[in-house]
Symmetry: C2
Subunit: 334 residues, 2 copies
């Protein structure tokens, strides 16, 4: 998502970030169905079945766990995201929990596994993309199977015909191109939970699975970009800095802006959240004076978590929620 | 556009390539209008005015002039495209020529200039994106002002509310976020025609302006990708290779496939063009045997132009239509 789209409440399709592990699958929507495995009753749901169930809609901010990876000093080998791996869309579909109850969750269930149709070779083995979610998370009221994004049927690259939405979690949990939902009496041991998407410093450590998005704020770059360097040039005078802030754990309580390279900070105006897991807009009035300025923003959520100046490096380059710094040159004026 | 989308006749929004010089503008559609300058009669057209005029639709293949840039050995400093900067969409709008006639084209006109709302700093100067087109090209029957893509209103990043479509030309001609159309009695001398988008080996040479897309074919990568290397792994046995071919100058007459590193070639099956400037599908049946294979494809158009093994290097890294080579490892089977 180009960062000028931080000015929009909802990110248009095609500007929302995408992280696609393998090729985009193009399933035939007429024959597609989700199969439920390991439940008390067999269940197979077509797109028509999903659309006939109770409908819900909510704006949700999705961020890749690797967002900011390319800003770590020792850059891990994976998708080299700077800060654009985020977006907020209105997702519509049907809640997951009633579906699981209809299928009958066996008493011993601890995890629900979600498998997509996307297939590739990972860690030397052929596999489909598959993620496990603890039962308590899967039963949350706001977790849904979505078949529309911003009022339109899902586009192929967003998981058509239907995908999982787990508000508050990093993107890896929102499995696209849903094919199979499995109730497990043991913790899910698939590659995407036990090898990938873990916070650790060494391959030998078990580390910790990534779950909820860390607190973060981003600033829409002020002024005009140069091509192709994309430096920012701004006319002098009054201007309003703006951006968005979010956290997977709690509402944002405070956004601060620095105009002097993160030496001193002032409070920005913060708007309330439009929904529990959608980003919050912030603004900050500034009278820009000629010269080079190192701007920055940082957010704090209701748990007290705040963005660090530098995030702890880790093997996968995940969860880099460091303060966002933006250099802008204010021109001498005309 | 991820190359697996070569399997689709029309590229879904969000998979179609984008080359955006500056920030994406988000104009207010209610107050937006195109202004005609330098014509015999003043004309200002709102989106409602455009929609009230005769409507036309056509599938058109768009390719960035820089597609393939990153495959030149000496890589120029600009957008490092591999081969994904292409897409084919159904564009709907109103033909341009009747609009120009309504405005009254002065007899001395040689070029029509098209200015977008996107602004940035290029070559040290603040400027909006602007391109000139020779009058004869602007008056072609199939040149249009498009306000829909694949049956939906244009998305912001595709030039909403309306953009130019010049079938057959590289992407730089299809000006997005149209703001102003100007009749010029002298050749257009703006940056995007006279400095950028020229074929030349040295900055001092005037070089030649880029116009129509060179003949090219691409292959959808067979088999499954590895993550994150994106090597291709294929099961042994019969398989159908497939892809698309296009040229801005003439229909494609022939597509050939090589299974041995471009040493020998065989004809592929070629489908007719669905429209004058939309890509053509090709297929090639192959029985894959275990081992590593260097596949390739090349197209020839009705002017006799064919893809070279290596394109001539040039300062901007443009128009690299070299033969597409795809390495695939066929596994031993199971």
């Amino acid at each position: 998502m180009p960062l000028e789209a931080l000015t929009a409440d909802l990110t248009p399709a095609g500007l929302h970030y995408l992280l696609i592990h393998y090729d985009v699958p193009f399933p035939d929507h007429a024959s597609w169905a989700i199969t439920f495995d390991g439940f008390e009753r067999p269940l197979r749901l077509t797109l028509g079945d999903l659309r006939a169930r109770p409908r819900t809609s909510q704006p949700v901010t999705l961020e890749c766990a690797g967002n900011g990876r390319a800003l770590f000093e020792s850059r891990p080998l994976s998708q080299p995201w700077l800060l654009e791996a985020v977006g907020t869309a209105e997702w519509s579909g049907t809640p997951l929990a009633p579906l699981l109850r209809d299928a009958g969750v066996p008493a011993a269930t601890v995890d629900i596994a979600f498998a997509g149709l996307d297939r590739g070779i990972e860690g030397g083995e052929e596999a489909g993309y598959e993620r496990g979610l603890p039962l308590a998370e899967a039963m949350r009221e706001d977790v849904m199977i979505a078949f529309e994004m911003n009022g339109q049927p899902l586009l192929p690259q967003h998981g058509a015909p239907a995908r999982l939405i787990v508000p508050g979690w990093y993107g890896m949990a929102h499995v696209k191109w849903l094919d199979r939902i499995t109730a497990l009496a043991e913790p899910f041991e698939g590659y995407q939970n036990t090898v990938s998407y873990r916070l650790r410093e060494q391959q030998e450590e078990p580390g910790e699975a990534l779950t909820r998005m860390r607190v973060r704020s981003l600033m829409a770059p002020p002024g005009l970009p140069t091509f192709p360097e994309r430096d920012r040039m701004l006319a002098p005078g009054p201007t309003t800095l703006q951006g968005r802030a979010w956290s997977g754990s709690a509402p944002i309580e405070r956004v601060e802006v620095s105009l002097d390279g993160a030496a001193t900070w002032s409070d920005a105006e913060l708007q309330p959240a439009p929904a529990a897991h959608a980003w919050q807009r912030w603004t900050f009035d500034w009278t820009a004076t000629p010269g080079m300025h190192d701007l920055a923003c940082r957010a704090t959520d209701a748990t007290g978590a705040t963005q660090p100046m530098a995030a702890d490096p880790n093997l996968g380059g995940y969860a880099n929620n460091a303060v966002h710094r933006v250099r802008v040159t204010v021109t001498a004026g005309s």
